[in-house]
Subunit: 70 residues, 2 copies
């Protein structure tokens, strides 16, 4: 079990949060997804190590952008 | 054929617009719904005169608030 956190830009409301959660939940190995709208924090639980590119692709599919690693 | 305009508060993104359009489109007699996100302008075409309270109720059902007549 692994937990990864990312930052998502551009979410403005609960609908945005739902869209991101839906898309990220479909990534293989993901077991749980939480999103904090105020901070853009995306927390992903997964069975094993996550491929950051796949999460970024899911976020983009939802219509948002993952912040660069800082 | 009648056209009515209202102002909706609280919409922040395209998902919000979709929610409002969906709910208002379900009001009896409504034939077309347009929403402008930037201004909150809700334009409703209907077969006959519209009951403002029914449109307000649909907007609330979507999770938003209709502005008072000014």
């Amino acid at each position: 079990m692994s937990t990864s956190t990312f930052t998502v830009n551009g979410m403005t409301c609960g609908h945005c949060v739902s869209s991101v959660k839906e898309e990220v939940a479909e990534v293989a190995g993901v077991t749980n997804v939480e999103v904090d709208l105020a901070t853009g924090l995306l927390t992903v639980n997964s069975e094993g190590p996550l491929d950051r590119a796949k999460i970024a692709a899911a976020v983009e599919e939802a219509g948002y952008e993952m912040a660069d690693r800082s």
